[in-house]
Amino acid sequence: MEPTRLTVLVGRSMEGDPEAFGELVTSLSPGLRQYCKTFFSSWHDAEDATQDAWIRAWQSFSSLRERAAFKTWLYRMARNICLDRIRQRANDQQTVDDGVLEQTPIPDRELPENVAVQRGEIADAWQIINGLPSALRQTFVLVALQGMSYKEAALVTNVSESTVRGRLARARNAISEAVS
């Protein structure tokens, strides 16, 4: 989404405009859910956490100090929700630092028709990502897939920028090893 459009939509949402908020939800949910998925083995749990993050965002707009930091604020909120759920349902979910995630098929609706032929490759790609430790997986998704800067990813994951750099390097190394 264009930065100018995002700025306006966040502003209108803070004013209490549900239509603008709906547009934010539509535009940012795919990425947010992808990030939530880094905590869980099932897309269903990721989707629930995504919904909760949006609801909490709507209720907590007054705590957003900088509209420019909306995305980081939203992702941090989602992260806290995911971590809370993992703590609550430790028996059902993997723990945050668990190294191996159960292989999870990608839901059909996430596959555009024109890449259907790549289904096998995409599933393999997800399997590689799911095989990373959670911290590396989160960092990779935030920076490489969501396009966040190291600084933004550090704010979301509550670590330093140098930690983000190190985690990303380890994630990329693991991916390269898996591919070659």
Partner: protein, 191 residues
Amino acid sequence: MTTLPCGRTTEDVLLNLDEPADLHELQCRWCHAERQKLKDQNGFITQLLQASTPEHEPEAFSQSILGKIASYVPRQRVWDVQDALTGNPQRLSSLDLIKAIRKVFADSTQSQLNYTEIKATDTKIPHLQWKVQCHVSMAEDSSVSTIEQQVLGYIRDAISPLIVWDELVVDLVVEDLHGQAIESVTLREES
């Protein structure tokens, strides 16, 4: 991590993969080849993962969330005002006034309204003194002094058909495209 013949490691290259190559990497064929290999391998996986993520969520998803948030108490403050047309007492929410302001700004080619808040500052019923916080981005060929008068005029044009007022204070914040404040000024007008 592999150590390259030049003495650097794969990790050295990986840590700076998002940065431009440094002087050593530019001159070292081992590092150059390693960087290219890592970029290709990671790029391939990244591309596949991005292809599996839709650009927009299906409408049903946002509708479901909007349905859920609709049950929460509206956060809008309601104000006792005097109707500008009839002179009768009336109640308007902040959002009613904000919508009117946004409608006027929608025609602007010089400024974009990013965020606004409006509140009465007097204790009278109906309220006659208003304070508006206005965060705007401006066109590159515009200037703060031009925007100042324009914004004040927009606010006046927006609320005057709705409510009777005798003092209007506008806290104008000029922002960049990302919503970061660049400059702020307070404007005042009496009717």
